[in-house]
Subunit: 292 residues, 2 copies
Amino acid sequence: MNLTPQPESAPGEPAFPESPFRDFSKLCVHTITTKPWSVEEAAEHFALSGIGGITVWRDALANRNIYQTGQLLRDHNLTVVSLCRGGFFPHPEAAGRQAAIDENRRAIDEAAELGAPHVVLVCGAVPGQPLTESRKQIRDGIAALLPHAEASGVKLAIEPLHPMYADNRSAINTLGQANDMAEELNSPLVGVAVDVYHLWWDPNLEQEIQRCGKNGHLFAFHICDWKTPTEDLLNDRGLMGEGCINVRQIRSWVEATGFNGFNEVEIFSNRYWAEDQKEFLEKIKNGYLYHS
Amino acid sequence: MNLTPQPESAPGEPAFPESPFRDFSKLCVHTITTKPWSVEEAAEHFALSGIGGITVWRDALANRNIYQTGQLLRDHNLTVVSLCRGGFFPHPEAAGRQAAIDENRRAIDEAAELGAPHVVLVCGAVPGQPLTESRKQIRDGIAALLPHAEASGVKLAIEPLHPMYADNRSAINTLGQANDMAEELNSPLVGVAVDVYHLWWDPNLEQEIQRCGKNGHLFAFHICDWKTPTEDLLNDRGLMGEGCINVRQIRSWVEATGFNGFNEVEIFSNRYWAEDQKEFLEKIKNGYLYHS
């Protein structure tokens, strides 16, 4: 394994910050990050790099035996970190909310078959429905899932999403709100996924990370970067080091709580998906080493 | 003036909410909203509709006698509500921060010439500079302006911007932060501009509007809507009624503080700028009446 910094800096520019990592054992990559690869291709390439973890998106499991896929990942020395994603609880009709709960039960079943310890929840929102109502429906939806989650041995990680997704993706838009909800639900099965892309701007971020950790609710840590300009609200995330997020500082806050889990690279990017994924994976490793 | 609802709803759809407005005397339109029009054209068309207010963007004043432009607006029975915009205080170099202060002094001078009671501040941010540092630079920049603002009789309205602009437009991203800063500066010259587009998602919005009002800091109220999907981070704002923001509810919170100012329509939209601006102005009036 070559940990030598890649010479991306021009002469005279500041050198790379020293890497705090000696290897990629605490790096996890989401299957959606390298979306052009099948889960099998991803497993092979991640393993060749000594990457320690993989988070699997449900679409990557289509038409597969999920248990055997989990075995394949473990055979590549990959820890299955999370299953992405459940959620989307709010709906104006009770039947729609029930359908969401049923779908989340299936996600829990898939996580159990795969061997993922938790399902990440993108909690949902309905344009025009008051956010306060959506939040109640989210809380009630998660509460309804708890018996099935407990029986399955699968936890649920509430992921607060950036306020620019409050219209139709999540009514939970700050870590403070996610902490509130996890505290209210008050179950060892319910925690929080902290993603720097969604939360980096929050003036209360450090305190809320501390609070989340103290509660034992910090289940997952996602990294990427915020580019200037960002040209698409969904699919223009940057690699660590490409943008304005101080990933290393936020990671230090996360680790100060005792968090010892993976650093999960979750990047949606039309630009990177169009590239050769092997080259992209090298960039991910570089961003992880020198900008995370 | 025709206040009859336009028949935009399909048969069977809910009727327009009843309009609480009897006329357009409390409607203000920003010159940038109808960007294809010169300030003179805007004045003429706004006046023909009985619109009561205009907020002038500085680019609309280029190559004009600013005092005479203010007179022209008043001759059209338009109240000059605000000058947009000052701000952009943060800079990594002291010389850059001084240049920003100098530029803001010019904005204050223009507001005084035009007869605008305040300058709206888009406070600024520098990608990669810690937001905490940018906030200090913003506070120091505003403080440095106060003697000139006082001598000119012009106030300053801090506008908190949506967190999706925290990279390069503003390190002040919630009304709570804007209230904090206005309280810290503790000057009758410094207040806040509340814009539904930036703040609608905030779970603390109602309380922070109350706080802002109690402090006497609520200087301005901007309206538009958040579309689903939003296709551009900057220039895809919607007309009131086109999106998910409950403008009427937020307006009720603003007015509950005693605010009796204008409802300022500030829409950046490549789509609407490409339309016939007279037709667009009719849509603005309709959105104001039935969705504000």
